[in-house]
């Protein structure tokens, strides 16, 4: 059962989601690509934070969101035009909202919002036209005082809304609609209170048209713990259903809702005592009772479509109730991780079972294939649970750029592509820090000042491009700027000065670029308060490496720099080719494999004394002996005696890995070598094979890259030289 902390955690997760939605919406406004739904989504985001803030007693956050929401409400109603200045103000407000949420989350001091609240209030039409608006929002301190009522029951939200509200309830609203609310017993427990929900609905302009009291038993049979009431509220057409549902976000099963023509959800008492429930359960008769009960002012005819009368109920209460059930489930990440771990063990157990059965001579039985398919399906579905779009990382960049613009005076245009690309949640979470640093670095050091750009004939506004795509089983993320590029002379001089390289070192352009990742290259003197926040580029590289990824740089002086991060899709399970190399079994991740072949003797050409190239349909690729690279004993001596696995690498083009034999191709569970042993270059991890033995997973990129310097192997040609070699 969830406790308050769990629920608060959910609140903060939802705050993050809401902030992302509001930020994305405001960016769309800035780009001029917004529509009514964009504004509604922004409003909903802020509103939902306000609701949760009230429920959990974050008064400063609630007061601020109320003020923010007021202006958004005016924007939504078309009272305030969406202009650049307004969008800039709203973006600032959203940034501060993020700080507010962070303060609430960490228990820190709420940010100073007085000035911004004044600006938000000043942007409302009431600021110019006194007749249009009732008194302004109370200050946070006033609000806090007002909110100090029993366990938040008369929450600030409602109080504030009452002060600023009243919508003209009598205004004939052609699109009025109904919501039926049936609290359950749990709705009155643990500090919750259904009357608060009603207040929130009233704050949206809702009006109670009926209170369902027929479920209340005689006083001597009444159970104080039970919930017997139900309400029907009429809402104006300007309010959408999502806004009402948001009020009940934290209510869960403690309240049943029905909308429009659906009947009031039936009474649902905690116990099965028939005496207390006897007025049940005919929804239509219950609904008919309503009109009588309502009596007095509520029974007066209203301009509501007759079809929306609850009396028109069909005996489909349960199905309509089911239709209101949310289509998503929130799961504790730990539970999900356990599931993933379990799936990993299942994959291993399946491999072992398969091996055992094959050893008994039943390799081709149908059930093995079925099992393989099922395990693969389960694995894919389980991994999909953890997949998240990279937009959650990209979405934070606009704010970062605004902050940087404020600090550096460099206004940078952001271009984003591939933001729907999905990757593992863990990768996403750990990607944020290195990306933030790379972006800070790009703006601080890469992109020139407006004056310098003008002098160089560039647009005064710099451009930062973020791109993500899935490529060869990896996620490739590019962070590009159109700045001055890396000044290699300066980098070289700095590296020599810092003792990173010898004075007479002869480095290629790429090697010089790589120096920026060297530990100790960044110094306090070099980094500003923008890019030097305790994370050097060496840490960025380390972070990426820990994710099983790789980072490369392409930089052209005067034109800009591109950092490319190649990351694994997932950190848990992957497909691989199991190969035999001498006395060792190794796993080559299938994402790298293009094809495998047993070469003809004449397809192998010598290059120099100890180098060999493979002729693959007219193109020559270098042969890399896995045995020589890994130190395996007893492997084949000649390339034509073994099998060549043609692989594609991120930075070094294609290569042919020489192995003795391919023994299997299957899913494997990646076990971190760091965690169980220590980090070993050229090894991406380890896995357990079907025979119970541990096999190392080859880091193909590293192996191919380092092959040029390894004894007994062949230097690897960059891909652009392949054709020349041919």
């Amino acid at each position: 059962m969830m406790n308050d902390d769990d629920i608060q955690q959910i609140f903060f997760v939802e705050c993050d989601e809401a902030l992302e939605a509001t930020e994305a919406g405001l960016d769309a406004c800035k780009a001029g690509t917004h529509d009514d739904e964009t504004i509604n989504a922004i409003f909903r985001g802020v509103h939902s934070i306000k609701g949760g803030a009230g429920a959990f007693g974050y008064e400063a956050l609630q007061a601020y969101t109320h003020c923010f929401e007021n202006l958004l409400g005016d924007v939504r109603e078309g009272k305030v035009p969406i202009e650049t200045a307004l969008v800039d103000l709203l973006l600032l407000a959203n940034d501060l909202l993020r700080n507010h949420v962070e303060a609430a989350r960490t228990g820190g001091e709420a940010p100073d919002d007085a000035e911004l609240m004044t600006r938000l209030e000043g942007a409302r039409p009431g600021a110019q036209s006194p007749a249009a608006s009732p008194p302004a929002t109370p200050s946070p301190s006033e609000s806090a005082a007002q909110a100090d009522e029993f366990e938040g029951m008369d929450d600030l939200d409602a109080l504030l809304d009452e002060l600023t509200e009243p919508e003209p309830a009598t205004q004939p609203d052609k699109a009025s609609w109904f919501v039926h609310i049936r609290p359950r017993a749990g709705g009155m427990a643990n500090g919750s209170e259904p009357i608060l929900w009603l207040r929130d609905i009233a704050a949206l302009g809702g009006e109670c048209v009926h209170c369902e009291t027929s479920g209340i038993p005689p006083i001597d049979q009444l159970d104080v713990e039970q919930s017997y009431l139900g309400w029907t509220f009429r809402l104006p057409g300007t309010v959408d259903r999502g806004e009402v549902e948001e009020i009940f976000d934290f209510v869960g099963d403690d309240c049943a809702l029905a909308f429009g023509d659906d009947p009031m959800p039936p009474l649902d008492l905690l116990t099965d005592e028939p005496s207390a429930t006897d007025p049940e359960p005919n929804p239509s008769s219950e609904a008919e009772d309503k009109t009588d009960d309502a009596g007095g002012p509520h029974s007066a005819p209203t301009p509501i479509p007759s079809s929306s009368k609850p009396a028109a109920a069909k005996p489909a209460a349960t199905s309509s109730q089911a239709a209101q059930t949310s289509q998503s489930v929130r799961i504790d990440l730990k539970k999900l991780d356990k599931l993933i771990d379990g799936v990993g063990e299942l994959v291993i157990a399946q491999a072992m079972l398969t091996q055992r059965i094959e050893n008994e001579g039943f390799a081709h039985i149908e059930e093995l294939g079925m099992l393989d398919t099922l395990v693969r399906d389960i694995q894919e579905h389980a991994m999909a649970f953890r997949a998240q779009p990279i937009s959650s990382v990209f979405g934070r960049v606009p704010r970062l750029l605004r902050e940087l613009a404020g600090n550096t005076g460099k206004h940078v245009k952001l271009e984003v592509s591939g933001e729907t690309t999905e990757l593992d949640k863990t990768v996403i979470e750990r990607l944020s820090e290195p990306m933030t640093h790379l972006i800070r670095n790009a703006v601080d050091h890469g992109i020139e000042t407006p004056a310098e750009r003008a002098e160089a004939g560039k647009n005064a506004e710099g451009t930062l491009t973020l791109a993500a795509e899935q490529k060869a089983g990896r996620i490739v993320i590019q962070i590009s700027d159109d700045g001055r590029g890396i000044n290699r002379e300066k980098v070289l001089a700095k590296a020599i000065k810092n003792g990173l390289i010898a004075e007479d070192a002869d480095l290629s352009d790429d090697e010089v670029n790589q120096l920026v990742f060297a530990p100790g290259f960044s110094t306090a003197a070099q980094v500003s308060n923008i890019s030097g926040r305790g994370v050097g580029m060496d840490v960025v590289k380390q972070n990426v490496k820990e994710l099983g990824g790789r980072i490369t740089i392409v930089s052209t002086p005067g034109e800009g720099t591109t950092f490319t991060l190649a990351l694994p899709l997932t950190l848990a399970i992957s497909d691989g080719m199991i190969v035999q190399v001498g006395d060792q079994s190794l796993v080559i991740p299938l994402a790298h494999v293009i094809e495998s072949l047993r070469p003809a003797r004449d397809a192998i050409k010598g290059l120099g004394t100890a180098r060999q190239m493979l002729n693959v349909r007219g193109a020559f690729v270098p042969i890399v002996s896995l045995g020589a690279m890994t130190g395996a004993q007893g492997m084949v001596d000649e390339a034509y005696e073994g099998v060549l696995v043609l692989v594609e690498t991120e930075s070094f083009g294609r290569a042919a890995l020489l192995v003795d034999a391919i023994t299997d191709q299957r899913q494997f569970v990646i076990k971190s070598l760091d965690a169980h042993y220590r980090s070993v270059e050229s090894v991406a991890g380890a896995t357990i094979l079907g025979n119970g033995k541990v096999a190392l997973i080859v880091d193909v990129d590293y192996l191919v890259q380092s092959a040029s310097g390894a004894k007994g192997s062949v230097p690897v040609l960059p891909s652009h030289l392949e054709n020349a070699a041919a």
């Binding site: 009522e149 029993f150 009155m188 259904p194 109670c208 209170c211 209340i216 006083i219 009444l222 017997y228």
Partner: protein, 86 residues
Amino acid sequence: MNTISLPASCDRAATKALYTDICEGLGPAPLDVNASRVEKIGQAMLQVLIAANASDGGIVITQPSPAFCDAVKLAGLEPLLTESSA
């Protein structure tokens, strides 16, 4: 006429505490329910008052505080005020 005075905070705990008193106070004559001190009132108390009002003698709400009136209006239960005090 029996009289019962509602506390400032009419939450579920208060309702539990008053329930027996209210039951015992009901009779052939209306029970006088003084709501002058009420600052907040929740569903639990409202439904007890509705049930009490449906009893033979019913109840009469006297001196309802603004907060009481506000909650009753919000919940669409104005008849409780008008009918009970009639």
